[in-house]
């Protein structure tokens, strides 16, 4: 994040561009668009200081719909453009919007290195587990066996876990939320915005046309409470319709288990308290999958370190207008007079 100032904060609508939004009716991207506009309003961002950088894909159309600065670049490279922008002007608030293909397939290496370097960017990965814009091929996050135009007999590849990847490459902020959970998405993105350094937020996004209901197993109203644990730093890891379930360390192991409160005497005190600075915990949380375990949502890991561009600036030691004439004359020189 950077210089958000709060004098007369703008309304969410102030972040809408004049361009007609052209995602498919019912696409999860609409909800995310609203959520991000709301987030910017709430943090008091300024349109002129905000830049949205994207690659190519349905998700990457995002910048056109924002009234801020926006750069719709090329497929998979948004983090590299964003890094250059920060190195040119660290004062800007730079968001990266990407898809599971853009950010994890062709762009996986740039996402990796932006996270490793800890460039102060908000990286939002809209994960619909499919290539939307190119009409529905399976992506690196698609479940094995996905039927798609390029996998008529079902995809063979094992899916990548976006958050395990991010933690593995050294991300210092990893969060997860859902397109339709506006009340959850906005606070999570505010945290991402306030985080110094690279933040990685995976947003489960429904592609109604090519991968509808990909996440319904844990997002449907009917099952959400039982299949989601909304993690909060310092709070016990409770879930369930009646908050009657929780997570604890399986005694004597390095693993988590889900327990039901009350059953053989387990109380809230037996539960693990979420510590967002605990990387080992974060790695276990992101690996949880239904039905046995709930899906962890929220700020799963946050352990700030100096941002890359800040350290770069500090290396510059200010002076950037050195005398070039003096530079050229430095070292061994000799005068040749007229003969």
């Amino acid at each position: 994040m950077a210089t958000a100032t709060t004098d007369t904060p703008l309304k969410p609508a102030a972040f809408e561009s004049d361009q007609e939004v052209r995602w498919c009716p019912g696409c999860g991207d609409y909800a995310i668009l609203k959520g991000i506009q709301k987030t910017l309003a709430e943090v008091g961002a300024k349109t002129e200081n905000t830049v949205f950088v994207s690659g190519i894909g349905c998700a990457s159309r995002f910048p056109y719909y924002m009234s801020t600065y926006g750069f719709h670049t090329i497929h998979g490279r948004a983090p590299a453009f964003a890094t250059g922008i920060k190195l040119a002007n660290p004062e800007l608030d730079v968001w990266v919007v990407s898809g599971d293909g853009d950010g994890l397939s062709i762009g996986g290496n740039h996402t990796l290195h932006a996270l490793r370097r800890n460039v102060n960017l908000q990286i939002c990965l809209f994960n619909n587990e499919i290539y939307g814009l190119t009409k529905g091929q399976y992506s690196p996050t698609s479940r094995q066996g996905t039927l798609s135009p390029s996998s008529p007999k079902g995809s063979v590849e094992r899916p990548l876990s976006a958050c395990s990847f991010a933690l593995g490459v050294g991300a210092r902020f990893v969060a997860r939320t859902v397109d339709t959970m506006l009340k959850h998405l906005v606070p999570v993105l505010k945290r991402a915005y306030q985080h110094e350094g690279a933040s990685f937020t995976e947003i489960f996004q429904n592609c109604i046309v090519f991968n509808d209901r990909a996440f319904s197993d844990f997002t449907d109203k009917s099952v959400a409470a039982e299949r989601q644990v909304l993690v909060e730093h310092g709070k016990p890891l409770v879930f369930g319709k009646d908050n009657d379930k929780g997570l604890r360390i399986k005694p004597g192991t390095l693993h988590l288990e889900a327990v039901t409160l009350g059953q053989n005497g387990t109380t809230v005190d037996d539960l693990l308290v979420h510590n967002e600075t605990d990387k080992a915990l974060a790695q276990l949380l992101v690996a949880m999958e239904p039905p046995d375990m709930p899906v962890a949502l929220g700020v799963i890991y946050c352990d700030p370190a100096p941002a890359y561009e800040a350290e770069v600036e500090s290396r510059l030691e200010g002076a950037s207008d050195g005398d070039i004439g003096e530079l050229l004359r430095r070292g061994r020189t000799w005068e040749i007079g007229n003969r």
């Binding site: 250059g84 002007n89 530079l327």
Partner: protein
């Protein structure tokens, strides 16, 4: 003068040395216009330092100088192997010197491998100086010599000087009580001393440099200086074979001024910072990924933080160029540099910069291809890639440096054109240009013309693809500017709003305006003039890039012999100078020497329908002056 007080030498110590030696050996020095010396040995032998010091002393004595280092392909090959040989060539003289020289007059070989690899370049009758003691069976075997070239008649065609440099050095440094291993390390300085004597050069600069370098280890400095002086004394005293004389190379009649030497790498780096300063840009964001021979430019830029340079060592060349484009978008000067394979990886993003119309400089330090090719060797085979190596019709500016020092002006020009026309500029150099060095009159940067950029600030009537009627450039509107918020990208943009457009007519119009914008730059660049010769006649030799030196000298030699031939050298490859058609039309024949399979010539043929004739050399080496000269004679006599 005594070996212990070298510092009394001075600017005119060459002359002193001359008298000294006349006294000592009763033989007068002979006069030479120009000479080519190559020092060759193991990477560990300090060859590069020896050569540069010799070049420096020559330059200080007023000679014109050109040098070329030849590093081994391997990082640090085993000692004594042919592929581990390192060499440094110095061409200096009282005439003007524009190449590192065709043939060697003197070869100093520290071991058999060095002799084996370099002898072929020594002219018949040239002098070869060897360190006998290194011609052991083991070393001979490593260099795969059946018998010792010192004993058989391998060296018959040359003037051979066998010296036990190792022993002589050890004696010279005895008093400082170094191990014989350490002592051996000073061999190069002993040899340098001898060569400085032979060409009547001072040792002053070298002595100062040694004192500085070994400030913390004075005994090493003393030993090295002693070796240097011993070599010098050796020449002065009668110990040399009687047929060996000293030479005098007078000062060259070069442009007066304050001089330094620059490689193409230095000059490019200086030109970029000077250009950014002239444009009023506070920051250069140099995004690059290491690759031979472009890495040294990354290293040079990394040292210029105090001049507004931020370097970003990206994860690959794609990220490198993308970071540079992002930086330009945000108001810095985005620059990226690479070679061969790395440039190929940048082509997609370069197309975005063309479409989004952002300033960008791409430095291509060409090397021999295709594919990985010969990474340390020079070639000019990326010209067509620079012009056409992107998908879609995507015109941009292509310019090339002609000599190490010329890279300063070309780099500044790249900044001017990129920022004035909001376009990517590809700056072509090559492995030769980047590593070769020449003396350079340090310009008064304050006095150079400026070309300040103006960032758009006025929201009134703004859209991102609004065009300046003169330049057709779109406004540079950078994030942080209130009221100019806008979105750009790689999808086709509407001519009159800048919004995405799939309209057929609009695409045709935008394609045209992108082409015209670049074509019209021809109005803003100098008319093409011949470097040498008349602006019409029987033959013009047309070149671009690092072939400048050999073409210039080859044409001059031909002209000296009465041939009416002209040299035309192109700095601007896209667009071509506006008078080029007319100029080329004035010659009966056009000969185009290139270090590739005939790329510029194909452009000239297509553009102007002139029957230009290719003259190609694809050996990873510069043309020799003689090759150009012969090619001219052959065409003008038949």
């Amino acid at each position: 003068m005594s070996a212990n007080s070298p510092d009394d030498g001075g600017a005119n110590e060459g002359a002193a040395g001359l008298n000294a030696s006349r006294l000592a050996r009763g033989k007068p020095r002979e006069l030479r216009d120009a000479t080519v010396i190559r020092f060759a040995g193991d990477s560990g032998d300090g060859i590069q330092l020896t050569g540069s010091q010799f070049a420096m002393e020559s330059a200080l004595a007023g000679s014109d100088v050109a040098t070329y280092p030849d590093y081994p392909a391997e990082i640090r090959a085993p000692a004594g192997t042919t592929y581990g040989v390192s060499a440094f060539q110095v061409h200096f003289g009282s005439i003007d010197i524009r190449t590192s020289g065709d043939e060697l007059d003197v070869l100093v070989a520290f071991n058999p491998a060095a002799l084996k690899v370099n002898l072929q370049d020594l002219r018949i009758g040239g002098m070869v100086i060897v360190d006998e003691s290194s011609f052991t069976d083991r070393n001979l075997k490593k260099a795969d010599y059946e018998s010792s070239p010192l004993d058989d008649n391998t060296l018959a065609p040359y003037q051979i000087i066998k010296l036990d440099v190792t022993r002589l050095t050890e004696e010279a440094v005895k008093e400082f009580g170094l191990s014989s291993k350490e002592a051996r390390r000073s061999r190069n300085l002993w040899a340098l001393g001898l060569m400085l004597w032979m060409y009547g050069r001072s040792r002053k600069a070298t002595v100062e440099w040694l004192r500085q370098k070994f400030a913390t280890k004075p005994e090493i400095a003393d030993a090295n200086i002693a070796a240097l002086n011993a070599g010098h004394v050796f020449g002065e005293t009668a110990e040399m074979p009687s047929d060996v004389v000293g030479y005098t190379v007078n000062a060259a009649d070069v442009e007066p001024g304050l001089y330094r030497t620059v490689t193409g790498t230095d000059a490019t780096a200086f030109g970029l910072v000077a250009g950014a300063r002239a444009a009023g840009l506070g920051r250069i964001m140099f995004g690059s990924y290491p690759i031979t021979p472009a890495s040294p430019l990354l290293h040079a830029m990394a040292g210029l933080a105090d001049y507004g340079v931020v370097t970003f060592q990206a994860e690959d060349e794609i990220a490198a160029i993308c970071s540079a484009i992002g930086a330009s978008y945000a108001g810095a000067l985005g620059v990226t540099a690479s070679s061969g394979a790395g440039v190929a990886l940048k082509t997609e993003a370069a197309g975005l910069a063309v479409g989004a119309e952002l300033p960008l400089i791409i430095v291509n330090a060409q090397r021999a291809g295709p594919s990985t090719g010969m990474p340390t060797k020079a070639e000019q085979a990326d010209l067509l890639q620079a012009l056409h190596g992107r998908h879609g019709d995507s015109p941009l500016v292509v310019i090339a440096g002609a000599s190490p020092a010329d890279c300063f002006d070309v780099a500044r020009e790249a900044v001017r054109l990129a920022t004035r026309y909001m376009t990517p500029v590809i700056l072509m150099t090559d492995a030769y240009l980047m590593n070769a060095a020449e003396p350079w009159v340090i310009p008064d940067v304050e006095a150079l013309p400026t070309f300040p950029v103006t960032f758009r600030t006025d929201p009134e009537g703004f859209h991102p693809f609004l065009r300046d009627p003169d330049t057709l450039a779109r406004p540079w509107a950078i994030p942080g500017t209130p009221g100019l918020e806008h979105r750009i990208g790689g999808l086709e943009r509407d001519y009159s709003t800048g919004n995405i457009s799939y309209d057929a007519e609009n695409h045709a119009r935008m394609t045209e305006v992108r082409a015209v914008k670049i074509a019209e730059i021809a109005k803003d660049i100098p008319l093409q003039l011949p470097e040498l010769g008349n602006d019409s006649g029987p033959l013009a030799v047309v070149g671009w890039g690092s072939t400048y030196g050999p073409i210039f000298q080859g044409v001059r030699r031909a002209r000296d012999e009465g041939y009416d031939v002209a040299h035309i050298h192109l700095r601007y490859l896209s667009p071509f100078p506006r008078n080029l058609a007319e100029l080329l039309g004035g010659y009966e024949k056009i000969l185009v020497p290139e270090m590739n399979d005939g790329q510029l010539v194909s452009l000239l043929r297509s553009e102007y329908l002139i029957p230009g004739e290719p003259f190609t050399k694809v050996k990873g080496q510069p043309f020799k002056i003689a090759e150009i000269y012969e090619a001219i004679r052959f065409r003008m006599e038949k």
